[in-house]
Symmetry: C2
Subunit: 321 residues, 2 copies
């Protein structure tokens, strides 16, 4: 068994690699990670074969795919804010890179299983509607457009037998450790992470605004679950809207206060931002996930659990007032 | 005013050109038609500037677009049956050709209005469902996949102000004159056209199978109407499911018999075809077209009107028994 994680050096990718390795010892499967950068701990770990490179460069992807990985996790992406500001880069990586991946798999003919990180950002418009598997993607961002297109391609390439794909439409992943990134949803991690680290944080939308979220722990679990499902179980339509929690910004702040105390929660302030609003407020926060539920995908229990897991995983109890 | 019709030599494109010219004299607007082939009547008509070439060749498209047409009708396509059998050709023309068109328009920066011939073939799956503007495209063909992708691109390029697109999702167009083509829906024209010409014709599906149809006359009318609409009227979502008629094969045969007599209708037989069934039976025949209706798009009155129009337009009354 040969497994490839594209975007394996990123926050989710490296967690996925570690979790996969825990469940599948090296004797049974080789694991190659591909990314532009790797954390040192990962690069120096003999359990992983880390290959540094650029997903937008076809020749580098070809070299990886020529080894005919049986299972490919495709997590490489230019994030929403960056794809909106740099249209060419988003198209090159999110669309052309993914199309090249599919074309190369088709050429090789070994029909690999692909787990693709799609996004609930493909939906947009009326945020009061409840999104089902039958709801049309109406992206209001170039990122969402590119993800929706790759979902369609993954479906057609699967239907024709070129690959065996499953596309997980991810809620906003929170709490991400580290620094803010160019994702327009970055504040949904910052408002938990920064206050816990003694830093101020802000949110750009009205505090009653609702979002659809999932924790890093659950998304990794769902990626591995997706890889384990038979094509017959998933059916003709290879896309799945992952389960999540519908939460308002105010609810997240209230949960942080309950877990870490009012002094921590007071570090959060409201700083409206028109650009961020123009994208994140088009994401519907209400989903009917009966397909995902029936297939065994899972969400977090509540926001407090997400915050407590984050605190435990990042060993940051000591900083809480 | 400079108008370009890509696919202007085809059956719909050339009718569209003639109709456009009737409504807009040459003094007011120049009209360039681009296609692989042109009927002689069109090529020799000084009212039209006919350019022969291949939509899959970027350099040829660039030369046309460099003249900065204000209005582009994009009808070029590899049809459904051909795109299913020749995957590379479908991707090259239907996807890459359209993407190149959009990229070139973006580069030129003059924000042309584009009327794109999309297709109700982007829908698939449960044919009992009623398709609305909010229904997710679930194409069960590569043709439908490619059209659905271009719809998404047209929307994003419009949202960003690169073009001003409107995508018409066409029902099956019937009755087409001439010969059967590689469209999997070709039989829906053949069963009317061939018997009227004294020839036998067959259909590959159960006669109770229902389809969503529109006449050539109405689709041309709707193309011109789409070009006349302001962007504000259409709104953020540039796609429109065109109105049509839901008809069974048996109903079409019955209408032909009423218009042309039982001897003509008897020339039609049932010849099941698994390949054609695998595609056409995934097309839902029931649509809720309130968006199109509100915007002023129109359908035919009934099948008999479609048949009578065809007979009159093609001057074939004399052949009816």
């Amino acid at each position: 068994m040969h497994v490839l994680i594209i975007g394996g050096g990123g926050f989710i990718g490296s967690r996925l690699a570690s979790e996969y390795r825990q469940q599948n010892p090296a004797a049974r499967s080789s694991l190659t990670l591909f990314d532009r950068h790797f954390p040192e701990t990962l690069a120096n770990d003999p359990e992983f074969d880390c290959v540094q490179g650029d997903f937008g460069d076809p020749s580098q992807i070809d070299a990886l795919l020529d080894k005919k990985p049986d299972l490919i996790f495709h997590l490489a992406a230019v994030v929403s804010g960056e794809a909106e500001k740099n249209f060419d880069l988003g198209m090159e990586v999110n669309l052309n890179g993914s199309l090249h991946l599919l074309e190369k798999c088709r050429e090789l003919g070994h029909r690999p299983r692909i787990v693709f990180a799609s996004s609930c950002g493909i939906f947009g418009g009326d945020v009061r509607q409840v999104i089902t598997e039958e709801t049309a993607p109406k992206p209001r961002s170039s990122y969402g457009t590119q993800k929706a297109i790759v979902d369609l391609l993954m479906n057609d390439y699967s239907r024709r037998g070129f690959v065996d794909a499953r596309c997980l439409r991810l809620p906003t992943i929170t709490v991400r450790p580290g620094k803010p990134n160019a994702a327009t949803s970055s504040f949904l991690s910052s408002i938990i992470r920064e206050p816990l680290n003694g830093q101020p944080a802000s949110y750009p939308v009205d505090p009653t605004s609702e979002f659809w979220i999932l924790s890093p722990k659950q998304v990794v679990k769902n990626f591995l679950h997706a890889a384990s499902l038979s094509p017959e179980l998933i059916g003709d339509d290879r896309t799945v809207n992952l389960p999540g929690l519908t939460v308002s910004v105010q609810h997240m702040i209230d949960c942080l206060e309950r877990v870490a105390g009012p002094a921590v929660a007071k570090r959060i302030s409201h700083q409206p931002d028109a650009f961020l609003q123009s994208i994140v407020l088009t994401w519907p926060p209400h989903f009917d996930t009966r397909k995902a539920d029936a297939l065994g995908f899972t969400a977090d229990q509540d926001v407090e659990e997400i915050i407590r897991n984050y605190i435990r995983e990042e060993n940051i109890q000591s900083t809480i007032a």
